[in-house]
Symmetry: C2
Subunit: 322 residues, 2 copies
């Protein structure tokens, strides 16, 4: 059945669960959306694209694609300490497949409902499956968590466990004929990452620098170090690895996944030791593990040790080109 | 040469001419951009995607693609009466072609410089050439020009001339071996549309409804009529057609291009006759033709006459599916 763009938008993208946000003066249906910030707030925006066959397998379930697309974007707001309010969607699809659209929209709506987001606009075009979301958050002026505030002596933390998503992607690309509980956990971590939005908000008074882990711990920590003009020492035996990950591969391989495999969407942050106890007390209620993995140093560069021995990455994992 | 995403962004998308906007607290290089509205302002956002081979020929010049992509988005802000300030870019490219990127970036920068826009963020991914831009404008609270304010008796105006872009697209798809001056004009109108940003701003106190013409006059006017719950009568002999368009095809064909061929990015707006003289006086300084083409009616539906005779579209031009 041929659908007009208007019908398609109305049918799949204007449900109540996609319209939970505040401050929407005018949403889908005019030349622009009109949005209101409250006095004393700044706007935080981030944009992510996912391409079929590049960022997810071509046979990925539409619902998972929708969920993951929005989760990845929300993770950027989380890393800023911003409160999500609105998003826009550029949907490029090869044809109008109603069951695909229905699933995709359901995946988006799950997260949008949970975080009280409104879909306020976007574009629908025909072409190779490519999805871009921009999220919009609000944050009191001056309270944003940036990458450039780490200072020598700050402790380096990560949330949750790392490497699961990279292992899940490997499973998604080569699915076993029978899924074990371990496989299911890792696939879920790839397709359904948890954006640490509330954690970011709670970190506002404590963290000196924050980033979300989307390129692997080492690559993302390097961004903090470069923007802050600092170095770091990591004790890799502390890097949090999940039981399911350790059940599927040797510890060294799991560690490499954690260090260089991206898209866990956990937070990596630095905190002054004087603020550490208050931070830990405040964040307890989230019941998400927080692990100290190292220390910021004046000396630039990143030095790593594993069980007391100096550690270097295998050369082929050292740098990722576009 | 392989470029990191960081290098690519730095080299092609952080030039001064792409950083002219105000209110940027934090631009490219953190998890989010941080942006400030001024007190009493609302945010207007719009997003557009262009896909190679769908929205422009696969062999289109990169500079033209960049220009047109941003122009189309700015046109949506113009139709809202908003002042452009920031944009984000999702760039999906099959490979890193430096001369293409250089041209594309130059096309963006021309318009960004002219309208004092900053490129504040986005994403760069590998995949089939697909480009999404979101523009962000600001507008004093309550002054946005919407689609839903047209009222019976209002006069319907369009800016510039219509149909040129559709004729230009036909030339772009089947370029003649030798370009005449007429051809060049029409191609320029396709690749380098002029977003009517200043016109939108000047229309704020006068227009009752505004839309930009991106789907053809009739389709876009229908959006105003539907949102305003009104009808219209058009006198098609007044629809402005350019000399170059009329030089390349019979008047009837030119008129059909104007009515149903999209992407002229002119403004179509309605104005109460009591405000008309002031509007015309104020907008004179733009030196852009404004043409009255009809009247809004209580009776819903769109009635058209050409030289006093009732006019209907050929059936195959009546409705466009996605």
């Amino acid at each position: 059945m041929a659908l007009s763009e208007f019908d398609l938008i109305h049918r799949f993208f204007q449900s109540e669960s996609l319209q939970c946000g505040q401050g929407v003066i005018l949403g889908i249906g005019d030349d622009c959306a009109l949005l209101n910030l409250r006095p004393g707030e700044q706007l935080a925006v981030s944009m992510d694209t996912m391409v079929s066959g590049v960022h997810f397998p071509v046979d990925a379930a539409a619902e998972d694609i929708g969920y993951r697309l929005l989760a990845a974007n929300l993770s950027d707001l989380a890393a800023m300490g911003a409160e999500p309010v609105w998003f826009t969607l550029a949907l490029t699809i090869p044809s109008v497949n109603e069951s695909w659209l229905e699933g995709f929209s359901r995946g988006l709506a799950q997260l949008a409902g949970e975080f009280h987001l409104s879909l306020v606009g976007g574009d629908t075009t025909r072409g190779p499956l490519t999805l871009t979301v921009q999220v919009h958050g609000r944050i009191p002026v001056g309270q944003a968590l940036r990458r450039d505030g780490a200072y020598a002596g700050d402790h380096i933390y990560v949330s949750g466990s790392l490497g699961d998503s990279a292992a899940g992607l490997a499973l998604a690309l080569n699915p076993p004929s029978l899924l074990s509980a371990t496989d299911s956990y890792l696939l879920e971590r790839f397709y359904r990452p948890t954006p640490r939005v509330e954690m970011g908000r709670l970190l506002r008074p404590y963290a000196s620098a924050v980033i979300d882990i989307s390129d692997g711990l080492l690559g993302d920590l390097q961004h903090i170090l470069q923007r802050s003009h600092m170095g770091a020492e990591l004790e890799l035996q502390h890097v949090p690895l999940s039981e399911p990950l350790l059940a599927t591969m040797p510890r060294q391989d799991a560690l490499l996944k954690a260090l260089t495999g991206g898209e866990d969407f956990e937070l990596c942050f630095t905190v002054n030791p004087a603020d550490e106890a208050n931070m830990l007390r405040e964040l307890q209620r989230l019941q998400v593990p927080l692990t100290r993995i190292g220390t910021i140093t004046h000396r630039t560069g990143l030095r790593m040790a594993l069980d007391g021995e100096e550690f270097s990455l295998p050369a082929h994992l050292g740098f990722q080109h576009f």
